[in-house]
Symmetry: C4
Subunit: 231 residues, 4 copies
């Protein structure tokens, strides 16, 4: 079942490696079939160069393994709650890419300093509050999603498809698995650029709001003219 989605999630996981965002086995990508209410996710702690599409694990939205010979990623519960609350997304990526992690560990949002950022994220990339001791003990992975959802109470996940979990690292999402990987790549790049920007100029200012608006809309808005028209 879900062979096509398994293939897509498998390819998206490998793309993560090819883009240089993976150290050892850190990181995972999932995709959802909204009709069937099934999520396909990378197995936990398996080396990327040994993986095959058939290793992908199929779970339902409660986290029960429906198909697959492996344990799903330990972060599965985080993915599932995000899928339940962010209704429009089709794929989620979690990485420990270095510059995004630096901001997560520094517990600082990534300011929007330029159009590279604006092309992908409509404003700063937010950082969550830390989990409490009780939240960690009770249900760590579910509560990791909860602090993300808390942070997005007043944010639109479709225009800000990324978050930094404090002391941990980034989660990104998109309309499918591949798009969530693209956002993870963009996030790492803008994090690196943001760090360098403040090293050059500690008083660097954020991008003018009208340029943010322009860049985001020319790529993602109703009158978008970046890229090729869909056939």
């Amino acid at each position: 079942m879900l062979e096509k989605l398994k293939e897509q999630v498998f390819v998206a996981n490998l793309e993560l490696v090819q883009q240089g965002l993976v150290t050892l086995t850190w990181g995972n990508v999932s995709g959802i079939d909204r009709d069937k209410q099934r999520v396909v996710i990378k197995p936990s702690g398996v080396a990327y160069d040994e993986m095959e599409p058939s290793y992908m694990v199929v779970v339902d939205l409660e986290g029960n393994v429906i198909e697959g010979d492996y344990n799903p990623s330990t972060d599965t519960a985080t993915h599932l709650l995000l899928y339940r609350q962010f209704k429009d997304i089709g794929g989620i990526t979690h990485t420990h890419s270095s510059h995004a992690v630096m901001f997560a560990q520094a517990r600082c949002e990534i300011p929007c300093f330029g159009t590279t950022h604006a092309d992908h994220f409509y404003g700063p990339v937010p950082v969550t509050r830390p989990l409490t001791s009780v939240e960690v003990e009770e249900d760590y992975e579910v509560n990791t999603a909860k602090v993300i959802l808390d942070r997005f109470a007043d944010l639109d996940p479709n225009s800000t498809p990324a978050v930094l979990v404090a002391g941990h690292g980034p989660f990104t999402w998109g309309s499918n698995a591949r798009k969530s990987v693209e956002n993870a790549v963009a996030l790492e790049a803008v994090a690196q650029m943001a760090l360098g920007t403040t090293q050059i100029n500690a008083q660097a200012i954020e991008l003018e709001s009208y340029v943010l608006e322009k860049h985001y809309q020319r790529k993602h808005g109703p009158g978008a003219y970046y890229g090729q028209k869909k056939a």
Copy 2:
């Protein structure tokens, strides 16, 4: 038509990838045929590993698509105005290479700290003013070229073949598409070196003007003796 130029522009775009200056589909290279008054440019948002020479788009200097199945780069209007005003240039490259973007986002010019810089750029690499709200709304891509032209009112584009658009990133140019890519590579390298230089020594001084003169002239001046004599 313009098969040779299309091939050159195609190869120059791939060179950008091979040099590590491209993330995702960010960046584009164009070339001009001054006799025919045609510009060849990369299509917008197409993956580099799927491109072929025939994907290159031919436009006239007003931006009308003359040949090609794809939309040209969204930055086409910026390229065209630069070609109209900088009469000697034959190729233009736009990237989001990380260290050049850091300076563009910090809105700081890149000082000439050494001979690596002097071999390519005759003095600091300038940064534009930000566009106004009206300029963004009216005609964003054309006005991006206008702020570049404003900045070059007293500068020679032939000896300073690069600029940083504030809050955006670098444009470089040269006598043809390949040369504009070479300048993009040099720019990224000198941007990285300049950042490190000031991290080591916050009071680092600019290169003595007579060394700048010597290095620039031995490579580009009338008595240049760097490289091989043209047959």
Copy 3:
């Protein structure tokens, strides 16, 4: 003799190269056969791309060469004393990977700023005191192990499988040669992240102790649920 261990140590040394942790011939990996009381280690100063499994040197715990045509690594005596005192470890890796060396040279421990760190090291990665002049002259390599052992007087080497020798660089270990390389890879990554974290936020705080506990235990504790169950 020990053909399997020689193969494992050989592969682990090459893995060090593939992971980008090696410059020139810097770095070495060893493995121990506890039953036979033999250690297999990389030969000294041999280029990685010329090595074969048969080049690995077999020594006893006193450092006598038992088998092999090459001199063992100059760091052999350091490895041997660590094997004698850290009874549970099966492999040791020494590198000059750049960010780990930066902390060793700065003589600063690597704080645990996030879960990437907590997944591998249960608390800060410690730094030794410098060796005294007498220790260097008397028996440099043995005393390098001694300052490591001094530093671990109150630390468990199994939960903190890494150390920075002041002014020198990192040693990591694990249950076998491959695992010690994995810890060297993780160490370099967390060192790079830690440097960036403090650059973004000079007041960055260490990870909450309950998150450290959670992450370390879910991967290494008795109820670990990261990765796949052993068959």
Copy 4:
């Protein structure tokens, strides 16, 4: 003539590329045959991937081209004067590797912060004074060597096989072309590590002199025991 030396110099130039020290055509390696009083050097401004051993240029110690179809590197005069004054060296490498250039541009020597440095350079890597305006105009490349020689008035080039030319970049040397490239690789690595070291700890101290002595001597001294005995 000198076919073997041409092959060695060619291979050493390519090694420079493989080690990631070259951007565009920046950098050059030469080697000397002391008996024949001939120097073999890379041609000027030729792309590395188009070079063949036969492209190497043979010059005498006065800089006359003895054999070869290309112009020799513009830096040839600098190499030649160094060969004349540093009697024991057999190869010279000049690069614009980024971190070494950062220190050269910052006009700061590279302190010896650790054993990685001590294994290759016996003390700080020195930086020259800037050339005067007259020196640049009179004979730029020869005078580049002269400021290096001035700086080495009280230094032994055999134990400090590297220098940073202020506002320019590094020159390294060794017993042959390949060894000079190795020192260029080591120099770039220790420059990167030194920058990071001071970023972590602005009060970082230099390596204890007795450790510097030990590491340098165990690799290069009369009783050296690093590496394999020569047959």
